[in-house]
Subunit: 264 residues, 2 copies
């Protein structure tokens, strides 16, 4: 089950530089899973501006909780009762027509510096998901999603805090489930790419530095709150800081020697 | 001129946790200016899904090129002739009705770990801009925007490469100018915030580590391309790597001791 892919359609097809397009669940899902924040877009009405909200969200399957990132999954988004998208989702559920959303996650892995401004680029990974969002009303599914999201941000955190959420918390927190209809990813990796017309010019090669500045997210030393009493930073936290930071750095460096479409 | 603000309206008002909302040009613009990638949303039609594209964009004013981030600015986005948003912008220009877009930039500064999952948060800064996008057709403005965008990513890069773009490059690259109608920012900083009901529980305080894991973008050692001949990394590049990386780290650490709404 490791090569399931989203079918290509008008909605998700990567038109520009199509060789950078990826449709397999693993690539699409991994970018979303490793992004601390997602950008969620919806259109309040045809006349209004589209709206983007930065939200926290994680992939999972309530029906099939052991599913991994290579399999079909739903996207659970965390929000508040009062927010605009939650109200829209609530009213669309009533009318039985769900809210259409687009969700995008992007990671920048490096600045790609070439001989001329127009061939400059970035190494990056982005995933875009199209789906319909509806409010999760089933309490078991809501609890599943709360744990999924908390542990998706920091593995092991949920069970190391005061759980379960009480009644007031269950009702003030809303979860949106996005049923994914279509998705794709776009990956750029590798060295700069320059035009032959520039690569032939000795004066340029002798004067313009070309290469990649790697970029990655660093997780700093955990800073205790002013009411923290637990002296040692727990291992699941210190391991997360170390492992996640290392993985980000390693990918950004490895990306430089991949081919353009992101294959090692 | 340092306290110009976007007027609050139905479109840009921060409803949820309104004290985190900021409307001054400086705050809104700085978050966008320091983000390597922006998320741009548009609605192809009322029936379609909204679409988000990750794009590179920078703020500037062709009419008033010395304007700084505290002043009214346009947002210039970089793209390609063939991409969907450019085609939509082109057709909307013909009908004299511009394309409505929403542009969002988000920086995550830390994971905020509290006693119970529902009070967990992130330190972050996000800006959202609503405006109408149109294709830049004036050649001088297009050149202005190309330099703005290149140097907005890495100050000094434009003049240190092969310029100006030739005819083919000028026509294959398109620039969208977003006239900003409305904008706002949302900033969360500071320590975890827990409910009194949890802060009263000795068992929780004795067992749950609370605090902030700072997060920031690190810029690694520049890696020369396989055709690079310039032995030393130029100073404008090494300074950028050092200064930008330091600034990101300093902010993420400083954010922990700010109050919730992001004031030092």
């Amino acid at each position: 089950m490791s090569d399931l892919s989203y079918p290509k359609s008008k909605t998700n097809k990567v038109n520009r530089l199509g060789d950078r397009g990826k449709y397999d669940c693993k690539t699409v899902h991994e970018i979303i899973a490793s992004s601390p924040v997602l950008h969620v877009s919806f259109s309040p009405s045809a006349e209004d501006f589209p709206v983007i909200l930065p939200m926290i969200g994680k992939l999972g399957s309530f029906e099939n909780p052991s599913a991994d990132l290579t399999e079909p999954l739903d996207l659970y988004l965390h929000g508040y009762v009062s927010s605009r998208i939650m109200n829209l989702a609530r009213s669309s559920t009533k009318e039985n027509s769900n809210l259409k959303v687009c969700v995008c996650a992007t990671k920048v892995d490096g600045l790609v510096l070439s001989l001329t401004p127009n061939s400059h680029s970035m190494n990056y990974r982005s995933s875009v998901v199209f789906g319909t969002a509806s409010l999760v009303t089933d309490l078991d599914e809501k609890l599943y999603a709360m744990k999924l999201i908390t542990n998706g941000v920091l593995e092991g955190r949920y069970e190391n805090t005061r759980i379960p959420p009480d009644g007031a918390e269950m009702s003030s927190t809303q979860i949106l489930r996005v049923s994914i209809e279509s998705a794709s990813a776009k990956v750029r990796a590798g060295e700069p790419g320059d035009y032959d017309k520039d690569l032939k010019r000795e004066d340029l090669l002798d004067s313009v530095w070309t290469g990649v500045i790697p970029m990655y997210t660093t997780y700093g030393e955990p800073q205790p709150s002013n009411y923290n009493r637990v002296k040692e930073v727990p291992e699941y936290i210190s391991n997360y800081v170390k492992d996640t930071g290392n993985a980000e750095k390693e990918y950004a460096l490895a990306a430089i020697t991949m081919d353009e479409a992101g294959a090692a």
